[in-house]
């Protein structure tokens, strides 16, 4: 029984970390699906989202607000608004002028943007770790005691719920709304969509905004879960989320979710089996293995090569 609890615990751990990978991965996958570029600066947007949430939470705490709901509402709202502005501005300033050229060029610009944003935050907020106390302490315990059973923290539950709601909202938006339909049209064929009267510039900007807002959601959730942020956290999270997006098949939103969850679970069990230091090796090896057998990811559409 303890063995079973142990593996169940690792599964829960993996799914938690995986669902936040999924939220960040959606930003990559949506941008890729429409303009075919890797937005390397996406991880930094996530990091900025965390910072805004921390600033909002600290401001509220200084003003004496201590009930959870208003704090969370303000943190989510503030951080999503600001990161949306970032998503839009990044696209407008660093990517739009480069559209249509060699595919490597926006990639370099994105790497530059990533370095720039990280250092900007480091200069204004310094490189020290910033911590807030747990806002939502407490656990559900399955089994006899916390030491031998499965513990699921309230925060983990919150992460599952919010991730699920965000995914639901996004898929409804994509499948039902007018703008969502325009997004799908652009993903299908950008030029054709433009000819049919869709303002593709607007749709691309919208994609960046949605991606950034979801990254902010992940930023707030992970900021609350771990309680600690620093300007360097965006890079690794970005790489992992990108891996998740490719694993699931880049360009596909359900793929990003699946890839994120799979990656999270693989990391948890990899850490369990080989030790924590091999976590990243496990993640990347999984990616290589999957791509060997399915070169376009798990749910990716096989691309037809055209002359």
């Amino acid at each position: 029984m303890p063995e079973l609890y142990h593996y169940l615990q690792q599964l829960v751990n993996g799914l938690t970390i995986g669902s936040t990978y999924a939220l960040i991965a959606i930003g990559y996958t949506m941008v890729y699906g429409i303009i075919g570029m890797i937005n390397f600066a996406h991880g930094e947007v996530y990091m900025i989202g965390s910072y805004i949430a921390f600033i909002a939470i600290t401001l509220l705490a200084m003003a004496g607000v201590d009930s959870l709901l208003p704090i969370m509402f303000v943190a989510f709202a503030a951080s999503m608004i600001v990161t949306s502005a970032y998503g839009y501005s990044i696209e407008r300033f660093a990517y739009r002028p480069l559209r249509g050229g060699n595919r490597l060029i926006p990639l370099i610009s994105a790497i530059g943007m990533s370095i720039f944003l990280q250092n900007m935050v480091m200069l204004s907020q310094d490189s020290k770790d910033k911590a807030i106390p747990s806002l939502l302490p407490g656990n559900f315990v399955l089994g006899e005691s916390a030491m031998s059973g499965v513990t699921i923290s309230y925060m983990q539950v919150l992460i599952f719920v919010v991730t699920f709601l965000a995914m639901l909202g996004l898929s409804l938006f994509i499948s039902r709304s007018r703008l969502g339909r325009a997004c799908r049209a652009c993903a299908e064929d950008l030029k054709m969509a433009n000819l049919l009267g869709i303002n593709t510039n607007q749709i691309i900007a919208l994609t960046f905004v949605i991606g950034a807002a979801l990254a902010a959601v992940a930023g707030v959730l992970l900021g609350m879960q771990y309680g600690v942020i620093n300007p360097h956290l965006g890079f690794l999270a970005g790489i992992k989320a990108f891996t998740a997006a490719v694993l699931g098949g880049i360009g596909s939103i359900p793929g990003a979710v699946l890839g994120g969850l799979l990656l999270g679970v693989a990391e948890a069990f990899g850490a369990d089996l080989f030790g924590d230091q091999y976590k990243d090796v496990v993640a990347f090896s999984l990616l290589v293995l999957v791509l060997l057998f399915r070169p376009t990811g798990i749910l990716g559409r096989p691309e037809v090569e055209k002359v």
Partner: protein
């Protein structure tokens, strides 16, 4: 007017949203608690002024004389000069001139200048290698630093366990990196563009993490230290030669000066770069070089003409890795110490930036870009703003000159109508 007003308001709001919360408010640790403080007055004024400037500019954009032609006003060279600069023959002469300059550099430059030049040469070498993969064959490789690490560790391990010298280890390091390139390249080269990018990135990280974790062999995070410096036909440049070797200054009967060591290292780097340049220039004219470029332009056409894309790609990948291996073993020799932290992703990004910034495929461009990038990193005057400027430069360069600093014209025929 009202449309301009709307845009102006929107842009200003955007500017405030991205600047005020992050730059204008600061999280600071007071005791053990966290508090938000306002930034100093200067930052707030800057944000305010920027907002006002943005507003007026957007509002009056159409009316400002020549504002629309801003792009045309940026310094540009006349078409003739541009054409002449990008001709392959001109670039060959410029490279020759640069080589001459590089040869006499140690006689005029100070010790630090020679040392920086050595660093630049390492990056030139890496740039030339990656250029084969990215610029010529069009394969996006984000894990190039992995092969660099393989080269560095090959020499370090050979020196540590078998007592090999630099010159003996150099070809082995190149071979080792080539083997890795071939082994890793074989399964992944059938992946397309961005899938290849992330997989190579993954390989680069895996190599680094393995080097860090295999403590018994690689020394783990401590790395391997006291790697011997290269010798000149058995003459050591150290003050006191290790056993079995004679010192350089002892042999020639001149007083010891440590500058010799720095200059000697520089000359080796130069030699390696020249060798790489020579090899690439030959290869580019050979069928294999033409095949790389053809494959980059159109894979399907190549296949229908009977080229085996896997072999062509693999050869580019392997050759690129070989140069990284050479550069790596030289890096280990210069440094005297290798640790896994010298081979992080940011290093790959830097090399890639050099290739793209230089104008893909152009060797002169790569040399120029390596100089720019290393000097940018070395700007000590700006201290903490250094990396900020580095990032910004990458973006601005891509917008201003997406074709790179000095692209190279390819020989082409035009049909005249």
């Amino acid at each position: 007017m009202s449309r301009n007003l709307k845009t102006a308001l929107f842009s200003t709001l955007l500017l405030l949203l991205i600047s005020y919360p992050i730059l204008g408010l600061k999280l600071s640790v007071i005791g053990i608690g966290l508090q938000v403080e306002g930034a100093d007055a200067r930052t707030l004024w800057t944000i305010g002024l920027a907002a006002v400037a943005m507003f007026t500019w957007q509002l009056l954009r159409d009316r400002l004389p020549g504002a629309g032609r801003l792009a045309a006003m940026t310094p540009s060279v006349p078409g003739q000069v541009k054409h002449w600069l990008t001709l392959p023959s001109t670039q060959r002469w410029i490279i020759l001139a640069l080589v001459m300059l590089a040869l006499v550099w140690p006689f005029f430059g100070s010790r630090a200048a020679v040392d920086i030049a050595t660093l630049i040469l390492i990056y030139v070498m890496l740039g030339i290698g990656l250029n084969i993969v990215v610029g010529l064959a069009g394969l996006l490789d984000l894990g190039y630093v992995g092969f660099y690490a393989v080269g560095a560790y090959t020499y370090a391990l050979l020196a540590e366990y078998a007592g090999f010298g630099f010159w003996l280890a150099l070809p082995i390091a190149g071979l080792m990196a080539a083997t890795f390139g071939c082994l890793l390249g074989f399964p992944v080269l059938r992946l397309r563009g961005d899938y290849l990018a992330i997989v190579t990135l993954g390989f680069g990280e895996i190599i680094r993490i393995l080097l860090r974790n295999l403590t018994d062999i690689t020394g783990g995070p401590n790395g391997i230290s006291q790697i011997p410096k290269p010798t000149l036909f058995g003459l050591s440049f150290d003050r006191r030669a290790p056993e079995g070797l004679e010192t350089f200054h002892g042999f020639f009967g001149i007083p010891y000066d440590s500058t010799y060591k720095v200059i000697f290292l520089y000359l080796i780097a130069l030699l390696l770069v020249l060798l790489a340049l020579f090899v690439i220039n030959r290869l580019m004219r050979m069928p294999i070089g033409r095949a790389w470029e053809a494959l980059r332009e159109d894979e399907i056409a190549c296949r229908s003409l009977g080229l085996n894309p896997t072999i062509v790609k693999l050869s580019a990948f392997t050759l690129g890795a070989t140069f990284a291996g050479f550069a790596g073993s030289f890096f280990a020799a210069r440094q005297g110490l290798v640790t896994p932290e010298s081979f992080t992703f940011i290093e790959s990004a830097m090399i890639l930036a050099i290739v793209v910034l230089g104008g893909m495929g152009s060797q002169l461009g790569i040399i120029l870009a390596a100089v720019v990038m290393v000097l940018l990193q070395e700007m000590r005057e700006f201290n903490e703003y250094r990396m900020l400027i580095f990032g910004l430069t990458m973006i601005v360069m891509m917008i201003w000159r997406p074709q790179g600093l000095l692209p190279m014209q390819r020989p082409h025929l035009e049909l005249k109508s």
